[in-house]
């Protein structure tokens, strides 16, 4: 194989030597001692983590004042890899857990990164009520259309016809339209991207972090090991190609029109960005108006 015409690859690339090793630009935001992570090759969650870290850096928020809460599932492991105050709570309860932190220390910006099963199925009630109250939370819901951690069962986002381990003949339940659910429950910021739309997703995350109140970003993300394999959709790369060909950016689309059909067009974009007082703003103003001087604002935790 020694062809003198072919230059060895190592000669054309600059291989950094140990003494000049540069830290990864995101290293300070990652618990590198916990790597490698548990996610499968070509899973989209890692991309969302990258977009989150970049979006957080872009937002200019003080890193100390941002805390992440996850629930249970593949995406539920996100909190464990982020070098922020990070909490891995119980299945479905990331939002109420984050609510306790957000109200307990109002200086914090709480981010919930978790999956569609965690946030919308078992945690669905918490989702709609936190949105209704406009708690100061940014929700990043990684939607891979199935329960991946437990082996690819059907969930509340599985499209009709899609196969899952508990829908062996295909799913016949109507799935949720998450942006519509978020908007109708009271969210102030609603966007949807796929894990292919890194730049736009990053911008959205940055906007959501700076938006006071309940912001919601759905990220359609490939599950190569379970959803894609079971439905013979190819690898994660094939799904990224599918997103490339089938995702249509339509900002401001009426959220009622954002249903996702099996292997059909996926409308992405920013659908809602409005202002509304947060739970704590509303509470403080309201109680002040009713109680006058008797009202004592919450001073946060005492040292």
């Amino acid at each position: 194989m020694n062809n003198p015409d072919v230059q060895p690859l190592t000669d054309t690339l600059h291989i950094p030597q140990p003494e000049e090793e540069l830290p990864h630009p995101m290293e300070e935001f990652l618990r590198t001692e916990r790597l490698p992570h548990i996610w499968c090759s070509t899973c989209g969650i890692g991309t969302v983590i990258t977009a989150f870290i970049t979006g957080l850096q872009k937002s200019g928020l003080e890193r100390e004042k941002v805390a992440v809460v996850s629930g249970i599932g593949c995406s539920g492991r996100a909190a464990g890899y982020l070098r922020l105050d990070s909490f891995h709570s119980t299945h479905g309860r990331a939002i109420p857990f984050a609510t306790g932190l957000a109200l307990g220390n109002p200086e914090l910006k709480l981010v919930v990164i978790s999956g569609d099963g965690d946030i919308i199925a078992i945690g669905g009630n918490h989702f709609i009520h936190a949105a209704r109250r406009n708690i100061n939370l940014s929700i990043i819901c990684i939607n891979n259309f199935n329960y991946a951690m437990t082996g690819g069962q059907a969930g509340p986002t599985t499209p009709i016809e899609a196969n899952a381990s508990t829908a062996p003949y295909g799913c016949y339940e109507f799935p949720f339209n998450l942006p519509h659910l978020a908007e109708s429950s009271g969210a102030v910021y609603v966007a949807r991207w796929t894990s292919l739309h890194i730049r736009r997703l990053t911008n959205s995350i940055s906007e959501a972090l700076l938006k006071p109140g309940f912001s919601f970003i759905e990220v359609i993300s490939p599950c190569p090991t379970l959803y894609a394999r079971r439905n013979r959709l190819g690898t994660g790369l094939d799904l990224m190609r599918f997103y490339h060909d089938n995702a249509k950016i339509k900002h401001g689309t009426d959220t009622r029109k954002l249903d996702i059909e099996y292997q059909d067009e996926i409308i992405v974009g920013k659908f809602l960005d409005k202002d509304k007082p947060t739970f704590l703003e509303k509470r403080d103003d309201f109680l002040k108006s009713k109680l006058g001087d008797k009202f004592v604002p919450y001073m946060g935790p005492k040292a």
Partner: protein, 386 residues
């Protein structure tokens, strides 16, 4: 540390147990409440919703008890003292996140104003049938502390104790009232703030990089906490973890983690123990009770003494951890333990276990809805003395 006067309604009041519990929480420094209405506990939440805006506390009525307990366990990591209140059906829903709070060692207080069960049972009538659920309700092995008051005054005093113990041991403390005590109205004296001892949160103050949120050695030396937002970048998980809070999924880590959660309470039971004893020096029979039943049992004991029966009283104020060594010791000296409870046999099983056959244990059951007839207890005392 002494209580912050803003939360202390000093004075002599005529108040029910639910309201007294709310006042105790405020005096103890509780400034975060998340709950869901349920009879017969709702008055606690009502009083807190009225008073918190005037003392700088955050009240939120959540969508259910799952959410309430999750928020309360989390608020501890925001640096606040937090509490929730419920009754049987809600207590069942809280179990998942009581387990989380035990696992991540969140100090917090969970009040259960017990009613008759199972299921919806007797929403407005009393019961003491959640005592084993308090101990074993969430899955897996862990220990909690449970306290049982028998009067509105104790609802005030012991709610403060509950907060103090939760801070001392970094554990959820379950405040096991019952409908009778919750709805009973009596005199409640609230002292001046400078007469109320409050255990402050123990915060870590050292090199940020060296902070470990857990100290998994099962000792009485509990790891200090930090507040989210102070730049420690902690990780906290309900998964089996090491002292950094990092998940480790193997049998060795499980052994260290679970032993710690169990040992820190079980091995220090005598430090946590609060009991009341009366006339046990010469006793052949001891009536062991807790909560409202201890007041009913008192009448039976006095009548038995009048008949010449050598009977004494042991009241458990801290019910969990169970005072095993005490019961073992007493079982060597007496003939019989009589255990009246408003359930079909719960704490009596613990007594029987600790007696190891040395003394008899006779349970006096009541399915709930009302307290015992003192005569029913008296009959068993007389039988036990034979």
């Amino acid at each position: 540390m002494k209580a912050d006067p803003i939360g202390v309604a000093t004075g002599s009041h005529y108040m029910d147990g639910d309201h007294a519990c709310a006042e105790g929480a405020m005096a103890a420094g509780c400034r975060f409440f998340a709950g869901y209405p349920i009879t017969p506990s709702t008055e606690v939440a009502e009083r807190i919703s009225e008073r918190f805006p005037m003392i700088g506390g955050i009240f939120i009525q959540m969508e259910d008890e799952l959410a309430s307990m999750a928020a309360v366990g989390a608020a501890a990591w925001a640096g606040t003292k937090s509490m929730t209140v419920t009754s049987g059906p809600g207590f069942s829903l809280m179990m998942e996140n009581i387990g989380l709070a035990a696992m991540i060692e969140s100090p917090c207080v969970v009040v259960n104003v017990q009613r008759g069960g199972p299921s919806t049972g007797l929403p407005t009538l009393t019961g003491q049938a959640d005592m084993m659920q308090a101990r074993w309700g969430s899955h897996g092995d862990y220990e909690i502390i449970a306290i049982s008051p028998n009067s509105p005054q104790e609802c005030f005093d012991l709610t403060i104790t509950a907060f103090n113990l939760s801070e001392r041991w970094r554990v959820p403390v379950l405040f096991m009232m019952d409908e009778c005590v919750g709805h009973m109205t009596e005199k409640v004296v609230i002292p001046e703030a400078n007469k109320i001892d409050v255990t402050p949160r123990k915060f870590y103050k050292g090199d940020k990089k060296k902070y470990k949120p857990h100290k998994l050695d099962g000792s009485a030396n509990i790891a200090p906490m930090i507040k989210a937002g102070d730049g420690y970048f902690i990780h906290i998980t309900g998964l089996t973890h090491d002292n950094r809070g990092y998940p480790i999924i193997n049998a060795e880590a499980q052994d260290i983690n679970v032993r710690h959660l169990v040992d820190k309470i079980r091995n220090n039971e005598e430090m946590i123990r609060i009991i009341e004893e009366d006339q046990i020096e010469d006793a052949e029979v001891i009536v062991l009770s807790y909560g409202i039943t201890s007041r009913v049992a008192l009448k039976a004991v006095n009548e038995a003494r009048a008949k010449g029966v050598k009977v004494g009283i042991l009241r458990l104020i801290v019910v969990w951890p169970f005072p095993e060594s005490l019961i073992r010791e007493l079982s060597r000296k007496i003939k019989t333990f009589v255990v009246p409870e408003i359930n079909m046999g719960q704490i009596s099983l613990e007594v029987e276990r600790c007696c190891e056959g040395r003394a008899k244990t006779i349970h006096v059951p009541h399915a709930g809805g009302w307290v015992h007839d003192p005569d029913d207890i008296l009959k068993v005392i007389v039988k036990g003395a034979k």
